[in-house]
């Protein structure tokens, strides 16, 4: 057990992952930071150092304001709902009911599908007039809604897809946590005369708290990183009403080919994710563990 690793081997094992990290994480991040201080050069415009000009553009960018509001609304809207649903589904499949494995499978199914496929399926559901959603509305005599073509509904329609897709994944975490809740605590509570609701709120829910914090922080980071379904379903439209931060970066960088401003936006996002990660560690260390 205590045999020491040969020094050479230790160096190799340290260097390989470090190289990977440097090549694919640290170097690109530093490069983005450097690029953000230069203009977007081309054959018709010479490359020049512009200092904080790109960051001033960032502050004056109306589209960015809209995109940040969208991303925030997206996070606030999807995370609590997905967590609530996940707890509900986990309780359901954890109960000794008939057909549990079938239920688990169907709840987890959306998570297994690739996001691009999911987005395409939902694109068809939402198609005004011909899609499933319109036909359901039609059964009740309601007019079809142009879900993805209206600024009022496009983001919400996409959030719905995200909740549907993510809740299944969170359910797995909660299922694991529920199965780790010691039976003797529940037995003791029952002896004291507590009902099922009381047991859930006073015993199970507090014990699920580490999982909730973990899931919430990861979901928050995910909310700023999601891009696939935006590209497939709306391309950020109409009028930027469904554009999220990473999509905006993609569009600026690859379709508008403004690498300098794209780098500036990337710095913003890396900073934001860095803060979220720091908060995650701080919260997890302080609150997540019960002794």
């Amino acid at each position: 057990m205590n045999k020491r690793l040969p020094f050479g081997l230790a160096v190799i094992m340290l260097v390989i992952p470090t190289l990977l990290l440097v090549a694919f994480t640290h170097y690109p991040a530093l490069r983005a930071l450097m690029n953000s201080f230069w203009n977007n050069a081309s054959s018709r415009r010479p490359s020049k150092f512009v200092g904080v000009e790109n960051y001033q553009a960032l502050l004056e960018d109306d589209r960015l304001v809209q995109v940040m509001l969208n991303s925030t609304f997206y996070a606030i809207g999807t995370i609590p709902v997905a967590i609530g649903l996940a707890i509900g589904m986990a309780l359901l499949v954890n109960a000794k009911l008939p057909g549990t494995s079938l239920m688990r499978l169907s709840f987890f199914m959306p998570t297994m599908l690739p996001m691009i496929a999911v987005a395409n399926i939902w694109l068809f559901f939402y198609a005004p007039g011909i899609g499933l959603a319109s036909q359901i509305l039609g059964v009740f005599g309601l007019p079809p809604i142009n879900f993805l073509g209206r600024t009022e509904t496009s983001l919400i329609s996409m959030m719905f897809v995200a909740v549907w897709k993510e809740a299944g994944l969170f359910m797995i975490f909660y299922l694991a946590a529920l199965q780790a809740v010691p039976e003797n605590l529940k037995d003791a509570a029952r002896l004291e005369g507590a009902g099922r609701v009381r047991i859930f709120f006073n015993i199970v829910l507090p014990l699920l708290r580490p999982t909730t914090i973990f899931v919430a922080v990861n979901a928050l980071i995910n909310a700023f990183r999601l891009v696939d379904h935006v590209i497939v379903m709306t391309r950020g439209g109409p009028n930027n009403s469904s554009a999220l931060l990473l999509y905006y970066i993609y569009e600026v960088t690859f379709s508008q080919r403004d690498f300098a401003y794209g780098a500036t936006l990337t710095v913003l996002m890396v900073g934001l994710l860095g803060i979220l990660a720091a908060v995650q560690y701080w919260v997890l260390n302080r609150k997540a563990h019960y002794q």
Partner: protein, 428 residues
């Protein structure tokens, strides 16, 4: 994640093939192409490419389907920036300024400089050459060119008591006829709209260009540094779009490009404005009698021209350029242009292609295909400037914010013009 994988993938393929290319003396071409229509385009391109390779055994060519237009441009530019470009690619005609600015393409008129070559270049429809030329040089050869036309359901016209052989010609007729074509059910919900003009995204901006042309103006000029977003013509065009939904001729809110052919085929709308590139798709799937007309116009007929051209890339050897030019000549030769046009609905880019027996038989079977050709004389170039994607976004945002009811036309156009001017100021 997906973007990274794609990028990495395209870089790797480019690297692998260029290694192979240097080890042989004859040209080994890589040819990137996009697909932007509902048609068996990949099979047709592959068949034509194989035919060229069989006729030129000293060369080889690899046709690479690279996704939609935007993805293909991104891949080609990324590969070129990495020093491993495809030798030849079909990319959007409006990417001309971007490709010139990035310095990745060669002027085809510099390679094709014999009198015969000149005659060949002059053999394309002038309308298609407008956006293939810049500063006196020809940079691209038209290949999959299209223009939107007005598709209408003749059965729906008959049911509404309209003459199925006279589609609307003006905006006023469009509104008047459209009102008769809109059908509501007992609960007051619309089951069939009068027309459908996509208003979202780049497709929406493309069609909007046609509205502006019909009011006697253009959105951009051949200089690549002028965007004419805030003009009386654009204002009138936006107001026409608003009027259509106000008069219940068209569904309110934004209308997507992709769902439009499906909505037409399902009878959700009695007519639609979309690319000729959908002719083959509609012919195959329509269960009703349908016709095609010019786009109804404001002051007269008007349409945008869109689609893709052949480009030859920098960083290629003399042999590769010569082979690429020969390949392009083969692909646009009358018989092959006809084959491509019939398979997809794209407008064959040369008059001599329309003289082939295959094309004559096709025009007889599907006279709708001729409408786009006739409309060509009223068509203008699509929105194209330097920094095209960024400048167009201002126009797209203006159109979208107005049709979704979030802004007034005058104000939205003014803001868009300011944004576009700021971007283009660098080039003045």
């Amino acid at each position: 994640m997906t973007i990274l994988t794609k990028l990495a993938g395209s870089c790797c393929t480019a690297a692998v093939f260029s290694l192979a290319a240097t080890s042989l003396s004859a040209a080994e071409l890589e040819f990137y192409f996009p697909v932007g229509v509902n048609a068996p385009a990949v099979e047709t391109i592959q068949a034509l490419t194989d035919e060229w390779a069989a006729q030129n055994p000293q060369h080889s060519v690899k046709a690479i389907y690279a996704g939609n237009y935007e993805e293909t441009t991104t891949k080609a530019l990324t590969a070129a920036n990495a020093g491993q470009p495809p030798q030849v690619a079909v990319l959007l005609s409006i990417d001309l300024f971007t490709l010139i600015e990035e310095d990745v393409i060669v002027a085809i008129s510099d390679i094709a400089n014999t009198p015969q070559d000149q005659a060949w270049i002059n053999g394309f429809y002038p309308g298609f050459m407008k956006d293939a030329q810049f500063e006196g040089k020809t940079y691209a050869i038209p290949f999959q060119r299209s223009t939107p036309v007005f598709y209408y359901n003749k059965d729906a016209f008959r049911a509404a008591g309209l003459d199925p052989e006279t589609p609307p010609k003006t905006w006023d007729e469009m509104i008047e006829m459209g009102k008769k074509l809109t059908i509501k059910n007992d609960s007051g919900n619309v089951t069939q709209w009068g027309t459908r003009i996509p208003t979202l995204g780049l497709g929406g901006a493309w069609l909007f260009g046609g509205l502006v042309v019909s009011k006697g103006d253009v959105l951009t000029t051949e200089t690549g540094i002028e965007a004419r977003i805030d003009t009386p013509a654009t204002k009138a065009s936006l107001e026409f779009l608003l009027e259509l939904s106000k008069q219940e001729v068209m569904a309110p809110g934004g209308i997507s490009w992709g769902d439009t052919p499906k909505a037409f085929l399902e009878g959700q709308t009695a007519s639609m404005w979309t690319s000729t590139g959908n002719l083959a798709f509609v012919e195959e799937n329509a269960t009703f009698d349908w016709g095609v007309g010019f786009l109804p116009g404001g002051d007269g007929p008007g349409a945008p021209i869109g689609g893709g051209n052949f480009y030859i890339f920098e960083d290629t050897t003399e042999e590769e350029r010569a082979a690429a030019l020969d390949f392009i000549k083969f692909m646009t030769a009358p018989a092959n242009a006809a084959k491509w046009s019939i398979a997809t609905g794209y407008v064959a880019p040369r008059p001599d292609a329309w003289d082939t027996p295959e094309m004559k038989a096709y025009a007889e079977r599907l006279p709708q295909a001729l409408v786009a050709l006739d409309q060509l004389q009223f068509a203008e170039r699509e929105f194209a400037t330097f920094q095209r994607a960024k400048v167009t976004q201002y126009l797209v945002d203006a159109i979208e914010s107005v049709v979704t009811g979030n802004a007034e036309p005058a104000e939205a156009l003014k803001n868009a013009q300011e944004g576009a001017d700021a971007v283009l100021a660098d080039y003045q």
